[in-house]
Symmetry: C3
Subunit: 162 residues, 3 copies
């Protein structure tokens, strides 16, 4: 927000934990950043999995939170597809096809988002609910709640729930 004219803004809520939906979110976000939008991806519920580190981070958790943490994929490349999952064959197939067509993987799209200064926000309320701790998420992630999302989105141009 440096210029005289206000920047356009894109605010995406990433609720889904599906690989293909997260890809769509990050492709739109990176596109909007390239068009000089101020861009925020607000990761909530299963969308938080896209921000998890892929190694196992030892943190203290209650039994319930441990169960959730175990059941959820660690990091973007472990997420499944929203369609045609086929017991894991679908994700492998789509990654093969993406490589063949030189499409960026979700991991690479997240890196590009960081380079383009897209705000990657983790929803603190669902982190608490699912027992996710800051140590388990990528560096450079911001932490906020629904109030911060609304403050951005109410003046936003492209607001999407994915």
């Amino acid at each position: 927000m440096t210029g005289v004219e206000e920047k356009k803004s894109t605010n995406i809520i990433l609720f889904s934990g599906d690989y293909d939906k997260a890809m769509a979110a990050y492709i739109i976000a990176n596109g909007a950043a390239a068009y000089d939008h101020e861009v925020t991806i607000f990761h909530t519920f299963w969308g938080l999995n896209a921000l998890r580190k892929d190694e196992n981070i030892p943190v203290k958790k209650g039994a319930l939170e441990k169960m959730f943490a175990k059941m959820m994929p660690r990091g973007s490349e472990s997420m499944g597809l929203s369609k045609m999952h086929f017991a894991g064959m679908g994700p492998k197939l789509i990654k093969k096809v993406m490589k063949k067509h030189n499409a960026l993987s979700l991991n690479e799209l997240v890196d590009m988002a960081k380079e383009q200064d897209i705000n990657l926000v983790a929803c603190t309320m669902t982190m608490d609910l699912l027992g996710l701790q800051k140590e388990e998420l990528l560096d450079d992630v911001q932490y906020a709640g629904v109030a911060a999302y609304l403050a951005d989105a109410e003046d936003g141009n492209v607001n999407l729930f994915i």
Copy 2:
């Protein structure tokens, strides 16, 4: 719409019948109402289940509509999860975890929405399609179609499809 300055507005289409997605919709809606937005949740397709009374209401229906009514959950607390449903274990687990963290249940979020004068609208077209009747839905629900939604949303600030 009483002030000189026009109120900001949030308009959510709740299409999904998943407990977690409905929670997200009601958390955003309640947040927006707290920020003094005019807020409407337009319940369509499976999202109508969040407005169903939890008791069985005897109404006359055709055979097809009876089947749909039986297959669909009665009320917010009977809805399943979009992820990790695990034959009903997922919803129970998340409710347990929510209780532990003092998070509001969907039922309580719906009550809060009513207290904050959020417009809870049931889509009449899908009610007709699924054979749902007004007696089966919560009191204080408004009835409208896609035209009413568009009239609100075209001047809205935060429009989401959930």
Copy 3:
């Protein structure tokens, strides 16, 4: 965009390949067009299936792309439901109920969209990824990428991701 006053605009990303979600997208789009909005449906990922011709079009494809093409439904009337699919019984049931209530089928909603000059856009990036070719899609479809979507949506009134 002919008048002195600019037209309102509705821009829908149809990501989902579910029959009921595509119906919702096309009902909102047709409603918005009736209210004189400039309307665009940007079909990406599984949403492209709504634009597939229902006959088998012989085109040259690699082995991976052939697999995807085979696994995906050909045309709107072969798509499944997001809920209560029940091994194909759900879609049949809902079509029966729709016919009984004189609701338009997805096929008819797509035709109405064309008559109302709604822009039906196919995402070229996912066409490439899934190995879909122009010959396999309906006539009157436009071809574009995320940049074109953003150019429309950043000045849009109702932007939805479905």
